[in-house]
């Protein structure tokens, strides 16, 4: 009798496990891992695995150093990230869900505030025409072709 009870318990547990497993298996099959476009540079400023886990710490450290102390090293600067990782289609790191930042942040469901203030596209607007894309930007500081970066 005791043996039958054990056997029944096993069957029930197996059934529950199967029921629980099905949706997660479906979810795993339905959502593919984010596909990231390769950056323009040779390699990232740090090891890729390190960047996956720690990019936010580096950015936070750099932001306080730059903002409060005026330290302007470029290795961990957000501007540097954008210049290298802006998408070839959108010209931006966060214009659509396939762009570099959004691909992972959409996948993990984490919202980021960086782009409320920071530019998502490389290039500089200047009154005097210094900087990389300044010649174009200075002539028309609000040039939509430059700013939206469509196609390029």
């Amino acid at each position: 009798m005791a043996k039958l009870a054990d056997w029944l318990r096993l069957v029930v547990l197996a059934g529950v496990a199967a029921v629980l497993a099905v949706p997660s298996f479906q979810a795993a099959a339905g959502v593919g891992l984010p596909k990231l476009e390769r950056g323009k540079g040779e390699k990232c400023v740090e090891d890729t695995q390190f960047m996956r886990r720690n990019h936010m710490e580096l950015l936070k450290h750099q932001r306080d150093d730059t903002m409060r102390k005026g330290i302007r090293t470029t290795k961990h600067s957000l501007k540097g990230c954008v210049e290298c990782h802006a998408g070839s289609q959108s010209g931006s790191v966060a214009a659509g869900k396939d762009d570099f930042c959004m691909a992972c942040h959409v996948y993990t469901g984490t919202r980021l505030d960086c782009w409320d203030c920071h530019a998502t596209k490389p290039g500089k607007q200047s009154f005097f025409g210094t900087g990389a894309a300044a010649g174009q930007a200075a002539a028309s500081p609000r040039n939509p072709a430059h700013n939206q970066g469509g196609g390029q």
Partner: protein
């Protein structure tokens, strides 16, 4: 002179000019380097209190109706140039009239980069801050948009961003919900350039603004302040402003 001889002379002259250009170029480049060695702070080094950035504005030189400093500021910092009560203005041209005698003149008003800034005193989060070299800034990462600093500022120098922004200048992040004001173009100052307004004023030929280091007795600013009378706006408040005026 025969034709081949003439040709030869021309060729010689060309060579001479070329050599001259090379020498002049080298001189220019070394001049830039000397300037760099004397003034620049390496990017990995923090700003220190050995310097205090300041400005002298000669309102007598300020052009009537000229708005170039404002336009330059707007372009450099990505402002839209609107002047409504809820729009961001980092530098404004003011018309001032002495009612007793009718004297009218113009001056640009911007953040005065006080030594004792009331906006920093009142900030509840520490977002409003004075950098070691005297530039007063808002750290948007910690600004909660309470606008207390705007009320505290006697110069009406600060603005609040009411609407979401896009297409910011990569060097000048700005966004909704934060207070902002003139930064002396800190991104330019950190690479040894002058603020956009000053450069525009000089480019126009008015030379009404001198920017420099108040701590360096050899700077053009210190020399001007030593040799000519200048005033602070609301000197009675004892804020020791970094921006001084002449002719008001």
């Amino acid at each position: 002179m025969s034709a081949p001889e003439k040709q030869e002379t021309l060729q010689e002259r060309r060579e001479f000019l070329k050599a001259g250009a090379v020498v002049a170029g080298a001189g220019l480049a070394s001049g830039v380097l000397v300037f760099g060695a004397a003034h620049s702070r390496p990017p990995e080094q923090a700003a220190t209190a050995d310097r205090r950035w300041g400005m002298l504005i000669d309102t007598k030189q300020c052009g009537d109706g000229c708005n170039d400093c404002v336009t330059a500021c707007n372009t450099e910092n990505g402002l839209d140039g609107k002047t409504g009560p809820q729009d961001s203005q980092w530098i404004r041209k003011l018309n001032i009239k002495d009612l007793r005698n009718g004297r009218v003149h113009e001056l640009p008003m911007l953040c005065q980069h006080c030594e004792h800034p009331p906006c920093v005193d009142v900030c509840p989060t520490g977002a409003s801050m004075k950098r070691a070299d005297g530039i007063v800034l808002v750290d948007r990462h910690t600004c909660i948009g309470c606008r207390y600093c705007m009320m505290a500022c006697p110069y009406k120098a600060r603005s609040f961003v009411h609407e979401p922004l896009t297409e910011q200048n990569p060097e000048v992040p700005r966004g909704k919900g934060c207070v902002e004001s003139c930064t002396f173009c800190v991104q330019r100052v950190d690479r040894d350039e002058q603020p956009a307004c000053v450069e525009a004023c000089n480019a126009k030929g008015h030379q009404a603004m001198i920017f420099g280091d108040l701590m360096d007795p050899e700077s053009a600013l210190s020399k001007a302040l030593k040799s000519q009378a200048s005033t602070e706006v609301r000197a009675d408040l004892g804020l020791n402003t970094g921006v001084r005026y002449q002719g008001i």
